[in-house]
């Protein structure tokens, strides 16, 4: 399972933190320190997997942001990297060319998107359009005029239609 997912920028500022296990305040800050010293200092030529105690940290860097996830040692690292990439892609289509500022000012939306992909540390949905469709439908329920809506009217349709599409 996934133990936590963190979004951290190069300066070490947290942009999103999702803890799928209950960590104490001190554990969280210890993890954060570890990540800052072990992940942010890695050069681009190094591999994206770092051992941490019994678990593994998998990360991907997009511009100034690091997407970092901690998974069990026997979990598939490559698959986790792919999932992080799917998450970024979803963010990108949702915000439209996503940048760090989007995540700063709309951090709740990033969480809601994440919640449509993972639940309790397990993968819920890896299909990009299905995730988007779920988020859009909730936005519609929450806001009379959703701030972020599908770009084209057919977008929503496509999204819901591909709900069951494969990812092969």
């Amino acid at each position: 399972m996934i133990h936590w997912i963190l979004l951290i920028n190069r300066q070490g500022k947290v942009r999103l933190s999702k803890w799928y296990e209950s960590f104490t305040e001190t554990e969280r800050s210890a993890i954060l320190r570890d990540v800052q010293s072990h992940v942010l200092t890695r050069s681009s030529k190094m591999c994206n997997v770092v051992d941490r105690k019994d678990n593994k940290i998998v990360y991907k860097r997009y511009a100034s942001l690091y997407f970092i996830a901690c998974i069990d040692a026997d979990e598939n690292e490559l698959a986790m990297m792919e999932l992080l990439h799917v998450f970024v892609e979803v963010l990108d289509s949702y915000f439209g060319n996503v940048c760090e500022l989007d995540l700063i000012f709309h951090f709740t939306r990033a969480y809601w998107i994440l919640d449509e992909m993972f639940s309790g540390g397990e993968l819920l949905e890896c299909d990009k359009s299905a995730v988007l469709a779920a988020v859009y439908s909730k936005d519609a329920a929450a806001e009379p005029v959703p701030e972020f809506a599908p770009k084209t009217p057919s977008g929503a349709h496509v999204a819901s239609a591909s709900h069951s599409s494969r990812h092969r």
Binding site: V49, L78, A79, S119, G120, G121, L124, A141, R168
Partner: protein, 924 residues
Amino acid sequence: MFNGTLFQQSLQDLVKGIRAHRRDEDEYVRTKVAEIAEECRSADHAKKATAVLKLTHLQMMGHSIAFASFHIIEVMSSSDFFSKRIGYLAAAQSFSPTTDVLLLTTNQFKKDMTSVKMQDCSQALTCLAKLVTEELGRDLESDVSLLLNSPRPYIRKKALLVLYRLIMVHPDTLPVVSARFKERLTDKDPSVICAAVTVTCELARASPRSFLSLAPVLYQLLMSKDSSNWMLIKIVKLMGVLTPLEPRLGKKLVEPLTTLMRSTRAKSLLYECCCTVTLGLLSYPEAVELCAQRLGEFMNDRDQNLKYLGLLSMRRLIQEHPQVALEHRDNIIDCLDDEDIGIRMRALELVSEFITKRTLRDVSRILLRKLRKSCSDEFAVGEGLESGNNSSVDDLEKLLLSSARGREAPYRSALAKELLKVGEFRRSSDPGKRGYEMLSTGDDFAWYVNVILGGLAEIPMLPPDIRDIVGEQLLEITSRVEAIRPVCVKIALALLEMRTGSADSADLKRALEEDHTEHDESDHDSNTDNDETVSEGEKTQSKKPSAFSSKPVLSANLAGNAAWVAGEYAELIENHVRACRIVTEFPKKHLDAAAQVRVLTASIKVYVSCSDDAVDDLRPVVLNYTKSLLSSQFAEVQERACFFKAILTEVEGSERNMLAPLFEGKLIPVDYRAQSKVPVSPDLDLDTPLLDTGSDSLYTYLLKTIGTPEDEVEVGDDDSDLFKEFAFGSVTLSLSERPIGLATGATSSAQTTLLNNLPGAHDKTDSPFYLGSSTAKEKERMANKAVPSGLEEETRFKYEAGKVSTEAAVVISEENPLGLDLSDEERTHKVSAEGTERYDAAFEGAFDQPQKATASKVEKRKKRKRKKKKEGKSGPKSKTNGGVAQTKDDQPSLIDFDSDPIEAEGSSTTTAPKVSVNLTESLI
């Protein structure tokens, strides 16, 4: 909608505000938190929701928002989905199993999960997946399992994942839901199947046996054409867990897995297949071959991740199929040059797998070269760091450099340990497997001592523990392998000389080289390499002389061991005058007492064994050295120096040979378990107490004897009494060693006797611990003679470096460090076994006999529920109150709540008004 929100700071404003107050962020946040706390108490839903939203942001920034837990629940229970969504997010982010208001959420979860609105249900499920505790799980399991049959695939999928977390905290749920759960594996909707497979996979890791019965369904899914890659990954992983339990499954798996490995283009799936092969299909050559081929491609790939993972799984493969390692040998060695230390470490793990007698020297040479290179690289970095002080290197870059510097250390340690593995003496009850596996001829040993031990000792940046191992091995090999003692003595002297300051490292190089050519004439390869590395090493040396000379490169232990080797086999020394000079000039600044004693003893030994014509030259040198140690800060060194000085003065002018008997006879390696071979004398009575204390505890008895008034010491206190008895338990031991202590004691002197007998206050030379840490030569000799039965088979016994005396050996065998380790291990085994037992018990037969198991479990659960109901009526309420009362004490008063009592209009829980009153009361 014209309400307070107009004047309320929005989340965006808060974020901007924080960004604008970089300098005094904490101060700013504090004022904002006070503001938000005020807003939380507002009657307006939207305002409250925004306040909670802002708090969620602050929580993410690392601020505690525990004070607002109740307000979060209020927002969660809002009927407006906009607020509800915020509330659930805040709860998922900030609540923990210890949050006391968590119990208040049960009803809210129930309500939302049965709601007709899909989004309410979904939000509740998402939050529950994070928060579920055993208590919540028990109350909500029926609701969650009902949702497994929801008409909406989306809800079914979410409920499955919640169920997984629920089962993990409350395993009894599984038998109840197993039938419904199994249905989901054959759901119409592929994403639901995928979720079900994911959950099965996770659960099976806790207790694989219970899930064997699901194998046919999973196998069908594996063969199905329209399974998604993610699901295939999970199924393949699951199969890897199940195959070791069911061999027939492996046979069926070979074909589909190899097909997948040939056809799939997804690297993650390919990797998973390889992992499964390394876990469960190692006996199928077809799969193994393909797997090795694919992993080889991974290792060759330019993508660092594939390289890393390839090496990782390759290791498991190699353990069963060592020939694979040889095929990929060059590939693996190339990975040792990688920029990423993680990759290098993995590659190093593999390298150890293909070290054989034949390849030993080649591989070791490569490793040693890598180690030297890593060190010299580090110096380049270090220089960059230092010169960067006044130039344009900025802080971040410096940080990167220094972290890169520290990060190399474990790699070097691992490399060195790998090299040193060869020189480990292997113990085994089977004589065939005992001894040095890789080293057999004298030539081998000479090579090892020269190239590896000498080579490692001279590398400046190794950590002390590696140096200690080098020292121990030098000592052990010297005493075990008689044939190479001359070489060892030479090396030991070269090592000591290297650090005297008078000689530069070139001396050692020369010594090493000489020996090398002597013993390795046949091996041209290693010879040339030696030259090469020497020049490399010299480059490093000349590059940074200050760093070398300022640091004690020879650890105290290594220096002590080298000195011991040189002294003990002093008759093998070629030039005693030079040796004596080396030993006596060795700087003692960084040595501890034990090492200083060893060096001192070594100097005397060298003196004693020298030839007649050198005696006159050496006498003053040794005498001066001894005198210089008379004022040593260590009592042991002083004592030894006094002793030797007295002897040297005594024999002044007379024949030197008078001293020879001092060190007569050779030390023989003694196994630390040798004590067990000494037969116990039949008239040894360990049961009769030496001191008849009557009915009193020893402590009371001693007090009486000493005559201290009891009331002063408060013997009455149970705990302290117990403790004291414990403390005096060791006195009993000491007493048995020297029975005179108390028995003779007049009341007045009894106090002092007691103190003297306390451990630690001993005359140190009598304490076994004292011997354990030093090499008191005379005692060793005596001890050796005293335990003849331990010497029967010389090779059988390990010469415990640094713990040479049998007395020390006895202590060790009594403490039995090995045994302790074992029991530790056992304990962890036990613990983990208990952990899985819990699941095993719950999962057992969950799928095999759903009918029976479920029925009985359901019955049990019903009983429990009924019981709960009985207790229940007053239960929750009192609990709530208790919980809130606790809040009162626990809450840090972040905010000044000296305003009106909260109006709890918007809350739906009945206990709310009471709670709010409590809150205000408590915090004022």
